[in-house]
């Protein structure tokens, strides 16, 4: 299983759970969490597809660049699979 992923940079206007500050960032799959109803459908009262949810680990350097106070610290975020693109190796894109 490919473990490195990049978060989509899409910026749709509706209800989404992927924070803007992580969009376009590269992370490492920390663990799969199972399948959950897609909040992008649930928010509008629609029947929701079950989507895979992952805990993804990002370095502060990846998120904040030169502004990171502790570049090697990490941050975990739970992100649905349809926001993630698998990468062969880090920095593949």
């Amino acid at each position: 299983m490919t473990e490195f992923v990049r978060v989509s940079e899409l910026m749709p206007p509706g209800h989404v759970r992927t924070p803007a500050y992580l969009r376009g960032k590269m992370g490492l799959i920390e663990r799969p969490l199972g399948r959950f109803g897609n909040p992008e459908q649930l928010a509008y009262g629609l029947a929701a597809d079950k989507q895979k949810l992952y805990r993804v680990r990002f370095s502060m350097a990846e998120i904040w660049g030169d502004g990171a106070e502790n570049p090697d610290d990490t941050l975990d975020a739970e992100i649905f699979a349809h926001w993630l693109t698998p990468l062969e190796t880090p920095d593949a894109s």
């Binding site: 910026m11 206007p13 209800h15 803007a20 500050y21 109803g37 649930l42 928010a43 009262g45 904040w64």
Partner: protein, 115 residues
């Protein structure tokens, strides 16, 4: 962080902000009732926390700055219940008029205001 075009107002992660002040506070009875209403409505399947959040987000930054947490919640719960068909806008209007007719002091005892 350079801001992203299209970032919505509520998506605040990473923006400059002051220190977090840990404050303890009690809730008024009506606020507890709003919370309970959300629990009842979601447990009955009328809508989910996702719908609650969607309406809160769509209310915009002005509501966030000028209204309290549960003032915003009760509006979101109401809109979601209308969208779910639990009651009609007309029924809501009739109930609001009925409650208003009880007078301004009707809820004072429940709030413990004069004890």
């Amino acid at each position: 962080m350079s801001d992203k075009p299209g970032r919505r107002w509520h998506d605040m992660g990473g923006l400059p902000a002051g220190p977090v002040v840990p404050e303890d506070h009690d809730f008024a009875l009506w606020e507890k009732r709003v919370d309970a209403l959300m629990v009842i409505a979601s447990s009955k399947g009328h809508f989910t926390v996702d719908g609650l959040r969607r309406v809160l987000e769509d209310m915009g930054p002005e509501a966030f700055e000028t209204q309290s947490y549960y003032e915003r919640w009760v509006q979101s719960v109401n809109q979601n219940l209308i969208e779910a068909g639990v009651y009609s806008i007309h029924e809501l209007g009739e109930k609001m008029a009925e409650v208003a007719a009880r007078g301004d002091t009707y809820g004072d005892c429940a709030e413990g205001a004069n004890d």
